[in-house]
């Protein structure tokens, strides 16, 4: 391959990278993972052989310009990508903006409930707890509308929550857990800090077992 041909390819790859970045940011608005097949179909096309190289450079550019990180989720044929925020936001600051983003407020409440209950809750316990906060499964909420759909579909689709069917249960029972995106965009410690401020407690250490749990997670990520 002549050097000019190599340069042409490099320029073309660079263009493809920029288009992938563009596509991922557009797709990110839905907060649904984008699959390799989507990237190949919409952008790479005849350059699909360069997928891995393109994604490496795409990740770098996303981090440098947008402060977002590529995260690969799922396995084998179900592999897909989401964008995760690398910047540290003061969680309490963000949360207090409930008017700005009520859905996010609800999400943090849900994540808090699950974490404080030991990282998982059965659907019965979960909805009872929400009922105590004025949110009912089958009643339209003035702010969120169909809460059941929002929590069991939208949040799950966005990988903030994971809802798993428990085996050998009749009638069927479900387990509510944090989704992969939740683990990457926030942390147990941050959620604990949120709950602490909400309950106006002096320190996160008030919650003994949850504090240990959060500390353990912190140690693992360093």
């Amino acid at each position: 391959m002549s050097s000019s041909q190599r340069n042409f390819d490099k320029a073309e790859i660079d263009r493809k990278v920029n288009d992938v970045v563009h596509l991922m940011l557009i797709w990110e608005q839905r907060k649904i993972p984008i699959k390799r097949a989507d990237i190949n179909k919409h952008v790479l096309k005849e350059y699909r052989h360069a997928f891995n190289d393109v994604m490496k450079i795409t990740d770098k550019k996303l981090q440098k310009v947008f402060g977002l990180k590529l995260l690969e989720i799922g396995e084998g044929g179900k592999r897909a990508y989401i964008l995760v925020n690398m910047l540290e936001h003061s969680e309490t600051q963000q949360m207090m903006n409930w008017n700005d983003n009520p859905k996010r407020g609800l999400l943090f409440t849900v994540l808090s409930l699950i974490f404080m209950s030991g990282n998982s809750m059965t659907d019965g316990t979960f909805w009872n707890a929400l009922k105590g906060l004025g949110i009912e499964k089958d009643k339209p909420h003035p702010e969120f509308g169909d809460v059941k759909k929002l929590i069991t579909q939208e949040f799950v689709r966005q990988w903030y929550l994971e809802i798993v069917k428990l085996p050998n249960c009749d009638p069927p029972q479900y387990e509510y857990k944090w989704g992969l995106r939740a683990y990457h965009e926030t942390s147990k410690m941050k959620i604990l800090e949120f709950v602490t401020s909400l309950y106006d407690k002096s320190s996160v250490m008030v919650w003994k077992s949850q504090y240990q749990d959060a500390l353990e997670e912190q140690r693992k990520t360093i």
Binding site: N18, H22, L25, I26, W27, H42, V65, F66, G67, L87
Partner: protein, 268 residues
């Protein structure tokens, strides 16, 4: 060219979340961005935005300065510079084909069917009633949910039941709108930008933005004329379309380049 720093990334993420920011929101977020990233503030907002736009350019995005047609206030909009047709809503918005059709119908009602009193707007009641004749059939609840979603995603503004096009809609779907609604799309006789919500000359039907009319009235207090045909325009209102907003000085050339050509093949 100034260096691209963490403060710029913070700002960029904020405008990515909200798509449209008012002038004061921009200033506030810019200040917060400096604080949070511990960078010393320097320069003005336009310089700050230019640094970001230089980084955004290869990825076909741009932060554009524009004016809301309903209030006349200056806003900053993050727009995509490519794929400026409705496919945008399918790829990025996760809308179904039916929902897309409904979006098109809303555009049609606002652009083509608005009455003389309220050019470039439509009532939410009329828009929701569209669901009745829609096929496949759409319930009112569904239509309401959809309309709310379109407003939340900043395609339309809802001013107490009056629906109008947002700057995001006008700028991003520019190509689509001028192709699809051709004869219904005109430019303001004052600022030469595309105009939907307007005051209309009774003689030649030339249009002027409400905020441009306001500026015109300030400069020229007597014998107001249509800028296109010189026909007297005595009822030219100096008030915005009933919606109060910050009054802004007229467009001066700005670094972000509000476009001034009538027909464009793509936003720049």
């Amino acid at each position: 060219m100034s260096a691209y720093k963490k403060c710029h990334i913070y700002f960029l993420q904020s405008i990515m979340n909200k798509t449209i920011l008012s002038e004061s929101e921009c200033q506030q977020i810019r200040q917060e961005s400096y604080q949070v990233s511990e960078v010393t503030p320097e320069g003005n907002l336009l310089d700050f935005l230019q640094v970001i736009n230089d980084q955004l350019h290869p990825f076909h995005f741009k932060i554009r300065q524009s004016k809301r047609e309903d209030t006349g206030e200056t806003v900053y909009v993050l727009i995509s510079l490519v794929d400026n047709d409705l496919n945008r809503l399918v790829v990025g918005g996760d809308f179904t084909r039916t929902e897309l059709e409904y979006f098109k119908k809303i555009l049609e009602v606002i652009i083509c069917l608005s009455d003389a009193e309220n050019v470039g707007t439509a009532s939410s009641i009329d828009i929701l009633n569209l669901a009745d004749s829609f096929s496949p059939r759409m319930s009112k609840t569904e239509a309401k949910r959809l309309l709310t979603r379109f407003v939340d995603e900043r395609w339309f503004y809802d001013n107490e039941g009056i629906i109008s096009l947002s700057p995001r809609c006008i700028l991003e779907l520019e190509q689509y709108l001028s192709q699809c609604f051709d004869s219904f799309v005109s430019v303001c006789t004052m600022c030469s930008n595309t105009v939907f919500q307007a005051q209309v000359c009774s003689n030649c039907s030339a249009r002027m933005h409400h905020h441009c009319a306001k500026t015109y009235c300030k400069r020229k207090t007597t014998s107001l004329k249509c800028l296109s045909c010189n026909h007297p325009f005595p009822h030219l209102q100096s008030e915005d379309n009933g919606v109060t907003g910050e009054s802004t000085s007229s467009d001066t050339g700005n670094a972000l380049g509000s476009s001034r050509k009538k027909k464009r093949t793509h936003a720049h």
